[in-house]
Subunit: 459 residues, 2 copies
């Protein structure tokens, strides 16, 4: 490889080159994402409507689709310096193993204790809560990456953090739970007796193992009923995508340093926080007509919001207490199979990404779980990093394209987001090793049934 001496294995940008503002892609969009609607009145949500649940500054960011750049406060920039810039890695070892003429890069977000990119938004949300003089925040967590990230951020700022953890995860993932406790968070298995909704669910279903929808409801109830608390969320919202733009901005700075122009940019898609953050500045260029890129969202076949969902207004939560968002959705009552990429088990999709997809500015594809783990293992063995199952969805598609280049001889430049590490997912790897992992796609009937329960909204 002749350019091995020119482009290092890991492109780190200097602290002084780190972005000082987040990029709000919505400002550059011609067709803006549809506004949030009130779950009962179906009126456009105002800052006032959201004030009891979310922090004021975050509401302002959520509703703003005209300001292109939001300066990153100094305290957040200092926190970012603890674990950022994240390296942009040139996958020389993988390229060599595949014998591909493609050039593969990945932005690795797993180099922090929370194990994923979630920390980028957790610190921002915790900061604005602290700045507003709040005592603490509440949230829910399933797989646990978001809960861990928020615990770390709150511990750093001296903010209380109450996490409602889906009961089956609380019991099956004690390691995750203990990381959160190490960071001083209180972790409550959900449903719990601490909330009205929790007690109600427990009375009706004493043996329930809980669900994300229920945990959200408990976290929201606690936030709204407790003086000095607000609720925070780790994905789906546009504020989260704004904070996550740090991923794409850093990636672009690193690529620009070496005059690298990606042909294709790939990210896994659950609620859209990582994908949206990674592609934001590149999509901005595409919309403004300054460059052209191919963008691919990768979904699990068990939860195919983009590829089999409907572009419609829907509840963001299964509890149907949160605002309605126009998005690609499988219906808030859709129950995805128990796939091992817990972070991608979401029925809907961020509204900005949904609008971009509707406008034909990006593609989406689905992959099977067993193929994902096979790709994860193939990647781990040559690139060293043990990827999270979520991240491995992007790896699978990147590998496919790189292998296609072997045949065609094309020297495509591929960039993908490696969102996190799989240290807390080894029981899923074990299933894969033991041949006990199965693939499953929802039936058309299941999806139609969930569609039939979508709210009726007159747009």
């Amino acid at each position: 490889m002749s350019d091995k001496n020119r482009i290092p294995y890991k492109i780190y940008i200097e602290e002084s080159e780190m972005p000082s503002a987040w990029y709000n892609l919505r400002a550059d969009m011609i067709n803006k994402p549809a506004p949030l609607l009130h779950p009962e009145t179906h009126e456009k949500m105002t800052a006032k409507d959201l004030a009891g649940v979310f922090c004021d500054e975050l509401i302002a960011q959520e509703l703003d689709d005209t300001t292109a750049y939001f300066p990153i406060p100094e305290e957040i920039r200092n926190f970012y310096k603890m674990y950022r810039p994240a390296p942009l890695v040139r996958a020389y070892c993988l390229e060599e193993k595949l014998g591909t003429p493609a050039k593969i890069y990945y932005k690795f977000e797993g180099n922090n204790t929370s194990g994923s990119h979630k920390l980028n938004s957790a610190i921002a949300q915790a900061y604005y809560a602290k700045n507003q003089g709040l005592v603490g925040v509440t949230t829910e967590t399933g797989a646990g990456q978001w809960g861990t990230a928020l615990s770390m951020a709150c511990s750093y700022l001296g903010l209380d953090c109450k996490v409602y953890m889906v009961k089956c995860s609380y019991e099956q993932k004690p390691h995750r739970r203990e990381v959160m406790r190490t960071y001083g968070a209180s972790v409550t298995p959900s449903p719990s007796t601490e909330t009205k909704i929790g007690r109600k669910i427990l009375a009706e279903h004493p043996d329930t193992v809980g669900s994300l929808g229920c945990a959200i409801s408990e976290a929201v109830e606690t936030a709204t009923n407790t003086e000095g608390y607000r609720y925070v969320l780790g994905s789906v919202l546009n504020q989260v995508m704004l904070h996550q733009s740090i991923i794409g901005l850093e990636t672009k700075i690193a690529l620009d340093k070496y005059n690298i122009k990606p042909d294709v940019i790939i990210g896994c898609a659950g609620g859209g926080s990582n994908l949206g953050g990674l592609i934001a500045p590149f999509m901005g260029e595409k919309i403004r007509g300054e460059a052209n890129y191919r963008f691919i969202a990768v979904e699990p076949e068990s939860c195919p919001s983009f590829t089999r969902g409907k572009y419609a207004y829907d509840y963001c939560d299964t509890g149907m207490v949160c605002p309605l968002s126009k998005m690609y959705t499988l219906g808030s009552s859709f129950m995805p199979a128990a796939t091992h990429a817990g972070g991608l088990r979401y029925h809907g999709m961020n509204s900005t990404l949904s609008q971009l997809y509707a406008d034909g500015l990006m593609e989406a594809t689905t992959v099977k779980q067993t193929e994902v783990f096979a790709a994860a293992e193939e990647f781990a063995r040559v690139e060293g990093i043990l990827p999270a199952p979520e991240s491995s969805h992007a790896i699978k598609v990147a590998l496919d394209i790189a292998k296609e280049c072997v045949k065609t001889g094309e020297e495509k430049t591929i960039v993908f987001g490696l969102t996190g590490t799989g240290y807390f997912d080894m029981m899923s790897y074990e299933k894969f090793h033991d041949g006990r992992m199965v693939d499953s796609a929802p039936s058309d009937e299941d999806i139609e049934k969930a569609f039939s329960k979508l709210p009726h909204v007159n747009e």
Copy 2:
């Protein structure tokens, strides 16, 4: 902090600045470490004696106490580039939290999937095995960091890797086991029916949960009885300390860039691989009279080789099949309490470090387990990184010195080795959180009893 703009949070050196040779501290020592002796004849071990067990190049490195620098082969340097240079972190957040005038730096070796510095030697040992035309290597693992590192290295080079994992760890640490399997290693619970010694032990003690000593014996037996295999070891040996000098060399390059002179350098001490690697170039300066530093080895009070051990010839393994090494030892029959820092539960110490300690060139101290976990949590909450229990021994002493500086007003510059992450140690953290963790030091009687079984060697 006025110098915040000058020294970044993380000092990364460029790929081009990475060391191209390992440093062999023994070459600069006035009193050389004592030679290895044959376990039966007590004669000085020769390369020929060791050839059936170890790889040829590694034997040459093990026995060489005059060559100061060993060039790092290009393939190893390329592998290092996947996860190195490791950052040298300025602990600004911790300093601010403590309100200390001390300047705290740590070299973080946890930024790779094996989770620790062990990979630095694993890739070197696997490389030389491959280079010799071998088919595979065998080893033992307890806590699992070494086994994981070796699996990664072997998978990268296409070498077979057989790991004997202490049975209780195999059962209690399934996550670790699955990481090794992801990297293609075969992991066998020890004692097993695969070896003569394993079958013998199982016949005598069918319910045994295994021990490191037994796993070593099985790994050695398999290596010597299988065509094309050799045995490799992750600590204690001087070859390992040589490879680990990469830690200290990078640290020194990073410090020199900013003209930083440490006052004290701190490392946790089990077999000595990390401590030896971190201090090597600094100790070289001290011995050559070019600079003066204070070095502190930190041991668990449950396994105090330096502080309560004897400087004597002893077996490196509990099975008494490996060579005799002159070292600070508690006796190869000493059984440390079941502390949670598995990586520090070794009865002896690297022979080079032992000689340096005997010559008064470094200090050693012990810390209690509960204090170590309290320090780990204090550190994690402000610096983000979740440290391994082993690494947290060094953190505890660094914190103590930094807190002392608050009182005295001294602006000491502290450097410590943060050898790895604690993701697979959350059950120990849980014990700590739940108040179920206890401290324990061995009694004088226990130590005297183990001393009485030391081999009689006429020096």
